[in-house]
């Protein structure tokens, strides 16, 4: 695997004030009635239900899978979630629980969340997860190498992981909360895009700040520009810190008005979240019945 020339990682500058202004401006879109219902149902279909805790167990994962298949028993017509996201050792459990459902199994890998281990171990982890049936791999980039300016190393590693993924889709977690500047984030997008990422993903969820609207706007612009430049579509996943239906709709507005219709699909945009689903369900029930239900009316998984 040869290093790409640093020249290729050159990116346009990002103006922080204007980027944040644009994201805030799109955040004022007012979504009512049918637009709200449609957006929220789409948000469910785009959700990667996630559990990434030391205390995760087969039982917990099975329950989460049941929720991903059918998010709300009272409304079987609602879509399933896009995927369940777990640690590699629980991939097998999730694969079994989701068989025949169309819900994908995503696994974090490459020494998630810090990524501080050697490359052979990272690749081995990817192979294990894929071998157990994961169809999507969420890798973390080497932020240490990135911040030290060793972009070629970051690029090479993504290429290697991509190869190890085989047929599985590769989501590249940039951990934007550690890259700090929008210029860094834009460059990390460029590296991941050139290395063959299928998705650009904001965060592990273990670092604050995680996903923010300006960061996701920036990722969407990178995906859009890559498509216009090469014809290859790449997805974007907003992960971490997204808890309310209102937030989810704001992100969908960013997608709709930056990348447009083609990206308004679970194939090209995802939410990585653990507690978002119930708020979305509660808002949908409110739109349907005109009343807010108790939180305990929705399953706790």
């Amino acid at each position: 695997m040869s290093s790409s020339s640093p020249v290729e990682f050159r990116v346009p500058p990002v103006d922080a004030v204007a980027l944040e202004t644009r994201a805030a401006d799109l955040g004022t879109r007012s979504l009512k009635k049918q637009a709200k219902v449609q957006g929220l149902e789409l948000a469910i279909a785009m959700m990667d239900l996630t559990t990434l805790e030391g205390m995760d167990s087969p039982g917990k994962v099975r329950q989460l899978c049941a929720k991903a298949r059918r998010p709300f028993a009272a409304r079987p017509e609602l879509p399933s979630c896009a995927a369940v996201c777990v640690y590699p050792d629980l991939v097998e459990v999730a694969v079994q629980a989701l068989r025949g459902s169309g819900v994908q199994v995503a696994s974090v890998a490459t020494g998630f969340p810090a990524g501080r281990t050697d490359r052979a171990t990272k690749l081995r982890e990817v192979q294990l997860a894929v071998g157990d049936g994961a169809t999507e791999i969420d890798m973390v980039i080497d932020r240490g190498a990135f911040l030290a300016g060793r972009y070629g190393q970051v690029y090479d590693e993504i290429c290697a992981v991509k190869q190890a993924c085989g047929e599985a889709h590769l989501k590249v977690i940039l951990e934007t909360g550690e890259l700090k500047t929008y210029d860094n984030i834009r460059r990390a997008c460029r590296i991941a895009l050139l290395a063959g990422a299928d998705f650009l993903k904001t965060s592990t969820g273990k670092v604050t700040p995680a996903s923010t609207p300006p960061v996701v706007l920036l990722l969407l612009e990178a995906a859009r520009d890559h498509f216009l430049e090469t014809g290859r579509m790449v997805g974007v996943k907003a992960a971490g810190g997204i808890r309310t239906a209102k937030d989810a709709l704001k992100y969908l507005v960013l997608v709709a008005e930056t990348c447009g219709d083609a990206w308004l699909s679970p194939h090209w945009f995802r939410f990585g979240a653990s507690s978002l689903l119930n708020d979305v369900l509660m808002q949908l029930e409110k739109e349907r019945t005109g009343r807010y239900q108790r939180p305990s009316d929705f399953s706790a998984d």
């Binding site: 204007a18 879109r29 007012s30 637009a35 579509m233 194939h267």
Partner: protein, 502 residues
Amino acid sequence: MAKTDKSENKAAARELAFGGVWQYAPSIEGTDHFTIQARHELFVGGEWVKPKTGEYLPTINPATESVLSEVAMAGAKDVDRAVAAAQQAFVGWRRLPAEQRARYVFRIARILLERAREFACLETLDNGKPIKETRDVDVPLAAQHFFHHAGWADKLDLLFPGQHPEPLGVIGQVIPWNFPLLMAAWKLAPALAAGNTVVLKPAESSPLTALRLAEVFQQAELPPGVVNIVTGDGRTGAALVRHPGLAKVAFTGSTEVGKEIQRAVAGRSVELTLELGGKAAHLVFEDAALDQAVEGVVRGIFFNQGHVCCAGSRLIVQESVHDLFVDKLRRRMQRIRVGDPMDKNTDMGAIHSAAQLARIVELVQSGVDEGAELFQPRCELPAKGFWFAPTMFTGVGQTHRICREEIFGPVLSVSTFRTPEEAVEKANNTSYGLSAGIWTDKGARILWLASRMKAGVVWNNTFNRFDAASPFGGFKESGFGREGGRQGMRAYVRLKGALSPG
């Protein structure tokens, strides 16, 4: 997963599509929280008085062409009466302890914010601009001007140390239709803070928010006659600026009328500030943050339908990024939502009047005739009301009318430059000089350019940003005098150099 989608998309043309999958439902701002009376009188000496002319003029909603109300047509005698009321009020108002004047101005700001929703709705109905703008820009900014200037009222000695600032007297203020409430606030706030009294003449096609401001003055218990509001057409304005009782005239509007006013006050002991037209340039360099520059250019020309004196109507972009930048602009323009101004998702509302629409149409036709290339995104315009799609001309030369004349509409003209020197030369190659925008990532270049721009306001990597603390005003045919900040206060005081001790 997603394999079929992918290959299909690869085969498809590399273009983006918008608005076909997820449409925003209408989200119309309610109007049941306030009423508009069928007829408005003149506000003179703290009371509503009938015009001596007996005439009334209708004011319409530009988005529907329906009549909202009718307002009094003030004649010379009505102006006389208003100036007399202001003169009478001046005696007490100037002697009021400054900190008490500050309280009144502060109270006006607070009440305005309390009634923000009502003012935003009324402004949108009477003017045609989107509710998003009146809600997020016009009304908050108007309140900020009162808040800011309330603070200066008792600190004038600090602003002008040793120069004994005094109020001028009665100020005649004539304001335009593009920011009816905001321009009233820009003019009234410093005048009142400095201890002057005012006769304000709103534009005939958008008088309602200024008249409602009179209700705020009453609510704030502002002494009668401190602010008087005379509505009417050009004749009212002409009578006001010629009135011998005025100490100063402040005007915002067209360069043509500004010149007339300047002639009218010539030879009299009357101070004058003019804030007139513009033909601002955006200079976009190849190293700029282009996606953000696109946002700035869009904000610069399509904000308020381009009815902005400082609108960035000339985009001058470095030749090396011209095609890329224009492509980005085209895509962005497709997403501008034009329509019902009361819909919270509308980005661009109605053109303010039939006359203004006719002027825009005429100038756009001249652009086509003179050989520039026209681009307008596909958008459905409502059948009733006055509408014009966002418009961009490429291949524009410095000689084209669309590059020289103020269009005061949503029309951008694009040309190119090769070197920074050429950029400066083209930017300054206009009879106007109100504002300019610089888009580059290089700090040193920003400074180099800003010092060479012949414009009163230079925005760096942003555009159409306003603040009560920041002076606003023009060079050349864009007028003289500043509004906002310390410089703005200077226009409403008389300074004395030497006084005997004690």
